[in-house]
């Protein structure tokens, strides 16, 4: 009798164990099934060609540009604090980046690299280039820019007011220099060499200049600048 009870208990124990194991297997069996014979292997379909219709686009355009660019009061405070404490000097420039295409450097930016631009370069005001510049197209250097090494430019070069170039400038095209520009202020000195003509707005300051086709002193550089370059400068100013 006792043995029979023991057998029954053992059988019951095995059944419970089997049920438990079965339920665990049951959990995974569906997953394995779907993995082996997938009915929904994905991916979730996204139409890569979809666009937003005109109506909603127009609505988005109505948003005031001023409101979109205005930071919140709290953030303005944060920006102020961060700007005041921002370090900008990097005397050991050892990296060069090469950019294919036209480049516009925004106002106040600090570029801690040497740059090779395979296109045109336009920099807005107060930009600091801590390395040198090699521009294969045209270059318009904005007012109060600082170039801590040299500029090599293969087409026209425009230096706007109060630009400082520490070393030298070598340009294959026309060079237009506005008032207050200083070149060669670094310990290595240097001057401006052009394979074409150099137009100076005012011959002030110790500029060392060599030009293959002559130097013109003009009342305003704007008069001498070709029309298409003028347009670029005007766009930059806005």
């Amino acid at each position: 009798m006792g043995r029979e009870v023991n057998r029954l208990a053992a059988f019951g124990y095995l059944v419970v164990l089997g049920l438990f194991a079965g339920m665990i297997v049951l959990c995974f069996i569906w997953g394995v099934w779907e993995y082996k014979k997938p009915k929904d292997p994905g991916p979730l379909f996204i139409d890569l060609d979809r666009t937003i219709d005109e109506r909603s686009e127009e609505r988005a355009r109505r948003v005031s540009k001023a409101a979109a660019s205005e930071p919140s009061a709290h953030s303005r405070k944060a920006i102020k604090v961060a700007e005041l404490s921002e370090p900008i000097q990097n005397p050991n420039v050892d990296e060069t980046i090469r950019v294919r295409g036209d480049v516009r450097i925004p106002k106040g930016e600090v570029i801690p690299y040497n740059m090779i631009v395979e296109g045109n370069l336009t920099s807005q005001d107060d930009v600091t280039f801590q390395g040198g510049l090699h521009i294969k197209g045209r270059a318009i250097i904005g007012a109060r820019n600082r170039i801590e090494k040299s500029i090599v430019c293969q087409k026209e070069l425009v230096l706007l007011e109060d630009v400082i170039v520490y070393n030298c400038i070598d340009c294959e095209g026309l060079v237009f220099i506005k008032k207050g520009v200083r070149v060669g202020v670094g310990v290595e000195g240097g001057g401006i060499a052009s394979a074409s003509t150099i137009c100076l707005e005012k011959a002030e300051g110790p500029l060392k200049i060599y030009s293959k086709e002559g130097i013109r002193i003009v009342g305003s550089v704007r008069e001498a600048i070709p029309e298409d370059l003028k347009q670029i400068i005007e766009v930059k100013a806005t």
């Binding site: 997953g31 994905g42 666009t51 979109a68 205005e70 930071p71 980046i97 950019v99 930016e109 801690p112």
Partner: protein, 415 residues
């Protein structure tokens, strides 16, 4: 892009086709070739010479040190206020840019994040599980955080930020392995918000194998834990965040420590089962919380993924949910390891910035030397590197297959 020749052309093609005005200078694509030695430079140059709005930046020699460094270089030549970032293996739809820039109309929004969808999900078990995990992580997790005005995360890709704000909060931190989490917390602590746009979906190539997954997860976990150490107290003390944002912020910072807590819970469970509950258990009711966390926390991600698949009308994929246990086990191992790696990294960094102390009488100090050697080798060889995620470059193949099946299905419905 660091050695991305398999995918570089695909993503640049997507940006060429992007439905966004391209002739007024507001749209510019900056492709950063981060010192690649394969065909990536020539691919990006080819696109830059064909399309005036694409610029190619090449780093010679110093590349491959990670995304934050490359992003900081790209930002130097980005001339517009709103900057969006995409990884090289991403395939954005034509409306993606419009959808991502729209939230910036709100003056409080400093960052935006879209939804990431793996395109190669049929490729392996890992990709299928990643597909499920991504679905839950974005459609439920991020969306809920955004709706509840908590802390949705900027994920570093299919997302963007205001350039001026990034400059103000200090650019991308190149010492962090999760520059995206770092930026999220910087934004919130400075009073900005991050908007989540579920409709700005974008395909990515998910990792294919477990070892690639381990590398990726290790990088994320260490980076996230670095942020935990840095921002834990700042988040608690912040005068800008609301109470619930602080709670969510702390939980989000600790998200990669969850697997470690789970491991502790399992070990405690085994210990108490084998040894019986020791007397001090009664003195530490906190242990109950570990058990509770272990029981509930484990299943949160399953519920999240299931809910998301339901919303995506991919109910058959819900069958795969139990197999996510495999992913959970992997997470427990990798994230627990990463937590200690992050502690070592932090200690190493602290030691580096300590000023030299006086020259005390020299001891032999073998123990400390050996410890430092081990730390140095750990620092140099193991952790502080940006493990490259390999791409199969099959994204467009899977997309085209899926598109064809969708066309067939719709055709059948009409018939």
């Amino acid at each position: 892009m660091h050695k991305e020749e398999r995918v570089a052309a695909d993503i640049l093609e997507r940006f060429v086709e992007m439905d966004y005005p391209k002739d007024d200078g507001r749209y510019e694509v900056i492709a950063i070739d981060d010192g690649s030695t394969d065909a990536t430079p020539s691919i990006v140059d080819e696109y830059a010479s064909k399309f005036p709005f694409i610029k190619a930046i090449h780093r010679a020699g110093n590349g491959g040190n990670g995304k934050p460094e490359a992003l900081n270089i790209g930002l130097k030549v980005a001339s517009n206020e709103i900057v969006l970032t995409f990884d090289a293996d991403y395939l954005p739809p034509r409306d993606c840019v419009k959808r991502l820039v729209a939230p910036f109309a709100d003056v409080e929004v400093g960052g935006v994040m879209g939804r990431v969808v793996p395109v190669n999900s049929p490729e392996s078990l890992v990709t299928r599980l990643m597909d499920i995990e991504r679905a839950g992580g974005y459609q439920i997790n991020q969306q809920a955080r955004y709706n509840l005005n908590l802390i949705p995360q900027f994920g570093g890709t299919v997302g963007g930020f205001r350039r001026s704000v990034l400059k103000a909060v200090g650019e991308f931190d190149e010492t962090k392995l999760a520059e995206d989490t770092d930026l999220t917390y910087k934004l919130y602590l400075y009073g900005w918000k991050v908007a989540y746009v579920n409709a700005a979906e974008c395909y990515e190539e998910a990792v294919l194998s477990w070892d690639m997954r381990e590398k990726q997860l290790t990088r994320w976990a260490i980076g996230h834990d670095q942020c935990l150490f840095e921002y834990f107290f700042e988040t608690l003390k912040s005068p800008v965040l609301t109470f619930w944002q602080k709670v969510d912020g702390i939980l989000l910072l600790g998200v990669y420590t969850t697997p470690l807590l789970i491991l502790i819970g399992w070990l405690t469970g085994i210990f108490t089962y084998l040894a019986g509950a020791p007397w001090w258990c009664y003195l530490f009711p906190a242990i109950l919380f570990v058990f509770a966390y272990n029981s509930i926390g484990n299943f949160a991600v399953f519920a999240e993924a299931g809910g998301s698949l339901f919303l995506d009308q991919r109910r058959r994929s819900i069958w795969l949910l139990p197999l996510m246990l495999v992913d959970l086990l992997a997470n427990v191992w990798v994230c627990s390891k990463a937590f200690f790696q992050a502690i070592f990294l932090r200690q190493r960094r602290c030691e580096q910035v300590k000023p030299p102390v006086w020259a005390k009488t020299q001891k032999r100090g073998v123990g400390k030397d050996n410890y430092n050697k081990a730390l140095n080798s750990f620092w140099n060889n193991n952790t502080h590197r940006w493990d490259k995620t390999e791409r199969s470059g099959n994204g467009m193949h899977y997309y085209n297959e899926r598109k064809n099946s969708e066309i067939k299905r719709n055709h059948g419905k009409r018939g």
